[in-house]
Symmetry: C2
Subunit: 337 residues, 2 copies
Amino acid sequence: MPTVHDVAKRAGVAPITVSRVINNSGYISEATRERVKATIKEIGYVPNTLARGLRSKRTNTLGLIVTDITNPYFTLMARGVEDVAGDSNYTVIYCNTDESETKEEKYANILAQRQVEGVLLVPAGGNDRTIKFLEANGISVVILDRRVSGVEKDFVCSDSKNGANLLVKLLIKLGHERIAIITGPKNVSTSTDRVAGYRRALKESGYGKNELIYYGAFNQQSGYELTQQAMNHTPRPTAILGANNFIAIGITKALHDLSVDVPGDVSVVGFDDLPESMLVRPFLTVARQPAYDMGRSATELLLKRISGDLPEDCQEVIFQTEIVERESVGPRKSSSL
Amino acid sequence: MPTVHDVAKRAGVAPITVSRVINNSGYISEATRERVKATIKEIGYVPNTLARGLRSKRTNTLGLIVTDITNPYFTLMARGVEDVAGDSNYTVIYCNTDESETKEEKYANILAQRQVEGVLLVPAGGNDRTIKFLEANGISVVILDRRVSGVEKDFVCSDSKNGANLLVKLLIKLGHERIAIITGPKNVSTSTDRVAGYRRALKESGYGKNELIYYGAFNQQSGYELTQQAMNHTPRPTAILGANNFIAIGITKALHDLSVDVPGDVSVVGFDDLPESMLVRPFLTVARQPAYDMGRSATELLLKRISGDLPEDCQEVIFQTEIVERESVGPRKSSSL
DNA sequence: ATGAAAGCGCTAACAT
DNA sequence: ATGTTAGCGCTTTCAT
């Protein structure tokens, strides 16, 4: 493969001049610039980013660590990240932790080895080791989606508490009094925040005693199993809140298998959303989080942090959720009492 | 950040010894190995992959270029790629072309600059410029999912022709005679292969005159619009084949909006599949492609090609599709004639 | 407006 | 079993 030297020799200039053309830096006469550009094209020169990064300490690379890349919520977020990064000539390395803290630390290490300039992190657990490690290696970090307690970092999320509160209030307005929440793990803030919003809504409506909380995992299977548990509770809930899209789908499936009609017998509401392109029939009532914009916003923050365009203290961006009412909710039937 | 030199000095050895420990290469006494390892941990040394790659010419990096990362078919494929790559200590850089040949070339260039050792390519169009460019830069390429005419390269796909053939035969067995196919662009092999399978099934069943073919794009909107066209045709089709998952969803939506019952009035079959975790109710009858295994297989091929463990001539792996029968098909009703 | 020299952090090649 | 030397391809720094 040709190098700057080859280009330089052929164009009759010094390597540094070629470098200046590539980077649009320093003074260069229009004539030499054109000549060098032509030579680059002629011999098909492609700059080596390894050498560039090694010398300049700038790799134009970001890392994105998410917990589940098969979830469209995170895919959409990733698109937001990529769009902003691409506009600034940054490449993104995606890492998928499957909610495992071990994998998270492994990937953080790989990203450090690759000299990424910044990392967007959706934390897999409650621990701050990954963040501390990245910090120690001089890598800027923006936390996405989930809060890690005791960590002061730039942070972008949606308002889980308020979203859950609104969903529950909606159910209460429809006459529901026994509402269950099926959520994710206890050490994940989106999981506990949604429970907090749920509890507040119940308390404010005078149903504080009716709490029915099931912790599990953010996937369909967990939603399915916990629904079976919830429906065994006496008295049965007349409405269920699933704390993310996969859980909500698991709930709907379990109810179907139990021959419970939705929303006739039980109303179901969820979080996140699936893109319309994947749905035969939009069905679930959800608190929709602006995943794409969250990805964009977090990346803008990160790039500013990297370039030093940000004040010292941490920025926090909280997006509001949008309640999308669809077919999965209905009034409580008196027969269900 | 500490370097090999810092580790070496502190451990009382030469830098190359540290290098040998990191790479598990050459002879080293157990004692020094332990001492070096301890020192690495002690001062938190993280090897710099830029310097490693620059010197050794091995970057342990692959590129994956797909046309639509929001499609679960490709997400699943990407997981297969990542799993195999990860097992061999390779990192994958994902690139999303949105079916644009311009973006494809842009990303190929970025990957070349980053000195990736190989690229897995789902071609956006019919042209071979990207492939030629990567080849010219000494980068191994495996083509995924779609054939590019006139190109001799390792190739992994599923049997589109046979899949479409089986789907149409299934419909014919149910009594359907007027079957439409709604497919993607004319310059994409999966699109035309599925049409070919469709045509063969019709011909072999004596309905060769009933061809009803609609070319468009591999997305929901195109599926929706072309369904409206198809249903305006006289006589109306009694069954429709959508050439990928998004098209099939568009078809179902359009039929719903036209108050056409599925499968009562019109049967619908599709390609690919959505993961169960995303479906409230599995519904569509589809030819399922083993996306995850295709990703795995392609990556295994690529890694072997990179390490020279493969014979000169091109390998071709064709996976069979699995017909999954569900609710969206039914017998042709005589009333629909 | 252009160039020469040096070195980023690592490992290949060649000692010993 | 360990070390010395050199150089990967680029850009920083300091000339001119």
